[in-house]
C-alpha cells in the first residue's frame, strides 16, 4: 500500500513538474492573436504576430513593467531609455508569445505603423492561392449605359472561362483568417455551382458603389450583389482598411493630410511621399481606386504601390491576370489624377 501511494506521488510529481516547466505550450493553445491597441488583461500570455520588419513597442504605466518571451527564440528585447517601454525585434512572419508582468494595461503598437501597413499589404500580394479569372471578352458593355448585361447569361456557367481561386470581390473585406478557412474549397474542381456560393455576406462598408452589374462576378445570383463572399478576396479600399486594422492606423483617408497631388506627369511635393502613404486615384474628381505606396523611388515611374486590381487587365499595358499586385505608379497614366495622403496612427 505504501509503495502504491509512493508511486502515485511520484507520477503526480512528474506530471506536475512537466506541466509547469512548459508554460509556453499551454499558453500557445489558449492565447489569441493580438492586434495593436490596449491590452487590459495582463494576466495571461499573448501571441504578437510580427508580420513586419518594424519593431514591436509595448508601453505600460507600471514602472516595474517587464515581460518574458515564452516562445520564438529568434526574437529579442531591445532596451530603451524610456521607462516602462519595451521594444521587441522579431523576424518577419514569426509569432512572439510572451507574458506580461504589469499591474496596469499594456499598450501595443508597431514602432513604425506605416511600414507595418505596407508590409501587411505585401502579405496579400504574396498569397500563394490562385486568383479567380474574370471573364472579359468582346461583348463587354458598360454597366453605366442602361445597365446592360456584360456577358450572355449562359456564360456564367461555362467552366472553361473560369480560373478557380479567390476572386476579387467588390466590397469583400475578407480577412486572411477566412481566406485560410476557405482555401480547400477554392481549390476544389468545378461541379456546377456549389451550395456555399449562395451564402451571401453583405458588406455595407463599400467605398464606391459601382460595378454592381450582374455578371461582374460570375457567381452573383442577382444584380447588385457582387459579393460571392464564400470565395474571397479584397477590393482596393478593403485591402487598405484591413491593413490599417492590423498595423494600428486609422482608415481616415477623407480627413488625412494630403502629402502630394498630381498625375503621372508631375506631382507636387512628390519628395515628401514615403512608403505607407495612401494613393487615392481620381477620375474627373471621383475617387476610383486606392493603393499603398510600397517603395519610394527617385521618380513617379520608379515609385511602386500595392493595390487590389479591380479593373480589367487591358488597362495596364499587361495581359496578366490581376489580383493584389505591386505596380509602378506610372501604370496609372491616361486619365487619372491622384492625391497621396498619410493616415493617422490609431490612438492607443
Amino acid at each position: 500500500m505504501k509503495r502504491f501511494f509512493t508511486s502515485c506521488f511520484l507520477v503526480s510529481f512528474v506530471f506536475f513538474t512537466l506541466g509547469i516547466s512548459h508554460p509556453s505550450s499551454r499558453a500557445l493553445e489558449n492565447s489569441q492573436w493580438t492586434q495593436p491597441g490596449s491590452i487590459a488583461d495582463v494576466s495571461s500570455s499573448y501571441k504578437l504576430y510580427a508580420f513586419s520588419t518594424t519593431n514591436i513597442l509595448l508601453t505600460c504605466e507600471d514602472p516595474h513593467f517587464h515581460i518574458d518571451i515564452l516562445d520564438n527564440p529568434e526574437s529579442f528585447v531591445i532596451t530603451t531609455e524610456k521607462p516602462s517601454t519595451i521594444q521587441i525585434q522579431s523576424k518577419i512572419h514569426q509569432p512572439v508569445v510572451l507574458r506580461f508582468h504589469a499591474n496596469s494595461a499594456v499598450r501595443f503598437r508597431y514602432a513604425d505603423p506605416y511600414i507595418a501597413f505596407k508590409e501587411y499589404a505585401a502579405m496579400f500580394k504574396e498569397l500563394s492561392i490562385p486568383w479567380q479569372r474574370r471573364i472579359y471578352i468582346e461583348d463587354y458593355l458598360s454597366p453605366i449605359e442602361g445597365n446592360q448585361k456584360k456577358y450572355p447569361a449562359e456564360m456564367f456557367y461555362l467552366p472553361d472561362l473560369v480560373t478557380f481561386g479567390a476572386p476579387y470581390t467588390w466590397g469583400g473585406k475578407e480577412s486572411l483568417q477566412s481566406i485560410a478557412m476557405k482555401l480547400h474549397k477554392n481549390n476544389s474542381l468545378f461541379e456546377g455551382i456549389p451550395a456555399h456560393f449562395q451564402e451571401m455576406i453583405r458588406n455595407q462598408d463599400v467605398m464606391h458603389p459601382v460595378n454592381l452589374d450582374e455578371g461582374e462576378s460570375i457567381w452573383d445570383p442577382s444584380r447588385g450583389n457582387e459579393n460571392p463572399s464564400y470565395w474571397t478576396g479584397v477590393d482596393c479600399s478593403g485591402l487598405l482598411q484591413q491593413c490599417c486594422y492590423y498595423a494600428g492606423l486609422l482608415w481616415n483617408w477623407r480627413t488625412a493630410p494630403r502629402i502630394a497631388s498630381g498625375d503621372y506627369r508631375g506631382t507636387n511635393s512628390f519628395s515628401l511621399v514615403r512608403p505607407g502613404d495612401v494613393m487615392v486615384l481620381k477620375r474627373d474628381g471621383i475617387v476610383v481606386h486606392f493603393g499603398v505606396i510600397s517603395k519610394k523611388g527617385v521618380s513617379i515611374p520608379t515609385t511602386y504601390m500595392i493595390h487590389s486590381a479591380w479593373f480589367t487587365n487591358y488597362h495596364y499595358n499587361t495581359n496578366t491576370l490581376q489580383k493584389v499586385v505591386e505596380t509602378s505608379l506610372s501604370e496609372f497614366r491616361s486619365v487619372y489624377q491622384w492625391d497621396i495622403v498619410r493616415l493617422s496612427v490609431q490612438d492607443i
Partner: protein, 423 residues
C-alpha cells in the same frame, strides 16, 4: 605444389578490380563536387556564360562625369504649344474601322470601361507611327496624315480559351532600328519577336533565366531592348530571406530552397523579391538593378538611365542623375553622367530620346523638358521646354526628328497632337 609460371590474374577479377577503381574515382568526384559551396559553383560559372551577348573585346569605357544646373523657368526657351490644335483625328469605337472596341465612356466611374484605350505608341522616322490597339490585340500603323495603312495582329497575346476571337488585351512593344518588333506578353512571361510584316519569329521565355521557371512570379510590362539584343526587364521572383536584403548584388548567387512560407493564420505565402535585370536572348543575366532606384530607356543606339544622385550629394539640392551610354560600335562605348539640379521638376519620368540624342522628360503636367545630348553639355545645362495644352495626353512618344506626339481620347475620336521641337 608448384605454381605454374603463367599464373596471370583471372581476367574477370581484373575487370572487377577496374570497375571498383572506377566507382571509387567517381565517388571521390561526387563528394568533392557536392561538398563545394553552392555559391562557388554559381559565381564561377556565371561570368563564363555572359560573353555570349557582350562584345568580344571590351575597351575600357570612357566616362565623363559632371554636375549641372537647369536654369529657372523664365530663363529657359519655351515652345508654347498650349493653344495648338490636333494634327489629325483617328476614329475609334464600335462600328468604326478605327482603334479600340467601343469608344471612350467618360461617364464610367471605373476608368475606361468599355474600349481599348491605346496604351502605347512609337513614332517612326518615315513620319508614321505604330499604335498598340488593345482590341484584337493588334498594332496599327498610321500615316502622318491619319490614315490606317497597316496592322499586325497579335493573337498570341490572347488567352488560350478565347484565342479565336478578338479580345481586349493590354501590352507594350518596342520596334528596334533593325526593324524587329518586340512585344511583352506578361501573362505567359515572355517577349515575342515579329518582323515588320507581322511574321512571328519566336519568343524569349523569361522563366528560363531561373533554374526553376516557377520561381518567376510576375513580369512588369515596361521593358526596353538594347543592341544585342539585350532586354532590360523588371520582375517579381520567389524569394525567401533575400527579400529583406538591401544589397541585391547577392542575386542570383543566393539560391532559394523554400518556395512558400506561412503568414498570418498560417495562410500560405510566396515571398517575393522585386528586381530588375539585363538579360540576353538566351536567358543569361548580364547585370541587375533595383527598379525603385533606376529608370531607363534605349533608342537610336544610346541608353539613358535616370537615378538618384550619388550619396555625397544632398538629395534636396540635386534632383536626379542622368547617364547616357552611347553604343558607338560593338566594342566601344562612352558614357556621360550628369548630376542635375532641375528646380522645376515634379517627379515625372522619361518620355524617351530622339535620334539626335536629346532626352525628353516630364517637367510637370503641362511641360515637357528636352535636354541636349549629355556629352555636349556644360554645367549650365542646355535645355528647352515645350508647353502643351491642358488636359490629359496619353500615350505620348518622342518624334525621331525632335518633338513629341501624343493622343487625347474623346468619345468617338482620338485627337493626335504633334509638337515639333527640332533638336
Amino acid at each position: 605444389m608448384r605454381l605454374s609460371p603463367n599464373t596471370s590474374p583471372d581476367p574477370k577479377k581484373k575487370s572487377y578490380f577496374k570497375e571498383l577503381l572506377l566507382i571509387f574515382f567517381l565517388g571521390c568526384v561526387f563528394f568533392a563536387y557536392s561538398s563545394m559551396p553552392i555559391s562557388t559553383h554559381i559565381s564561377k560559372s556565371i561570368p563564363q556564360k555572359i560573353p555570349e551577348a557582350t562584345p568580344p573585346k571590351i575597351q575600357p569605357p570612357v566616362c565623363i562625369e559632371m554636375i549641372g544646373n537647369v536654369p529657372l523657368r523664365d530663363q529657359i526657351q519655351t515652345i508654347d504649344c498650349s493653344q495648338q490644335g490636333p494634327s489629325f483625328t483617328l476614329l475609334w469605337g464600335e462600328g468604326t474601322d478605327g482603334i479600340g472596341l467601343k469608344g471612350y465612356d467618360p461617364s464610367a466611374c471605373n476608368g475606361i470601361s468599355s474600349g481599348a484605350l491605346p496604351a502605347h505608341i512609337q513614332a517612326m522616322e518615315d513620319g508614321t507611327m505604330w499604335i498598340a490597339d488593345g482590341y484584337g490585340p493588334r498594332l496599327v500603323q498610321v500615316s502622318s496624315t491619319g490614315e490606317i495603312i497597316d496592322e499586325i495582329l497579335l493573337p498570341e497575346l490572347r488567352r488560350p480559351d478565347i484565342s479565336q476571337i478578338p479580345a481586349l488585351v493590354g501590352f507594350t512593344f518596342q520596334i528596334t532600328e533593325d526593324q524587329i518588333l518586340y512585344v511583352m506578353d506578361t501573362a505567359k512571361k515572355r517577349i515575342l519577336y515579329y518582323g515588320m510584316e507581322g511574321d512571328f519569329r519566336g519568343s524569349f521565355d523569361i522563366g528560363y533565366i531561373f533554374y526553376n521557371p516557377e520561381r518567376l512570379l510576375q513580369v512588369e510590362p515596361f521593358f526596353s531592348v538594347l543592341p544585342g539584343p539585350i532586354f532590360r526587364i523588371q520582375i517579381h521572383m520567389k524569394a525567401d530571406e533575400d527579400r529583406l536584403l538591401s544589397d541585391i548584388e547577392e542575386f542570383p548567387i543566393k539560391d532559394v530552397a523554400a518556395t512558400s512560407a506561412q503568414g498570418f493564420y498560417d495562410v500560405p505565402l510566396q515571398p517575393s523579391n522585386h528586381i530588375g535585370m539585363y538579360v540576353n536572348k538566351v536567358a543569361r543575366i548580364i547585370s541587375i538593378f533595383d527598379p525603385s532606384q533606376e529608370e531607363a530607356f534605349c533608342s537610336y543606339g544610346s541608353e539613358v538611365k535616370f537615378s538618384l544622385p550619388p550619396a555625397h550629394f544632398s538629395s534636396e539640392k540635386y534632383s536626379f542623375q542622368l547617364q547616357q551610354i552611347h553604343y558607338k560600335t560593338e566594342n566601344h562605348t562612352f558614357t556621360t553622367k550628369i548630376t542635375l539640379l532641375e528646380p522645376q521638376w515634379k517627379g515625372g519620368g522619361f518620355l524617351g530620346g530622339d535620334k539626335n540624342g536629346a532626352i525628353y522628360y516630364w517637367v510637370d503636367s503641362q511641360t515637357i523638358g528636352i535636354i541636349d545630348p549629355l556629352h555636349q553639355q556644360t554645367p549650365e545645362i542646355k535645355v528647352h521646354y515645350i508647353k502643351i495644352p491642358k488636359g490629359f495626353l496619353h500615350p505620348v512618344a518622342v518624334l525621331p526628328g525632335g518633338g513629341v506626339v501624343g493622343m487625347r481620347t474623346k468619345k468617338e475620336t482620338i485627337e493626335v497632337y504633334r509638337f515639333i521641337a527640332e533638336t
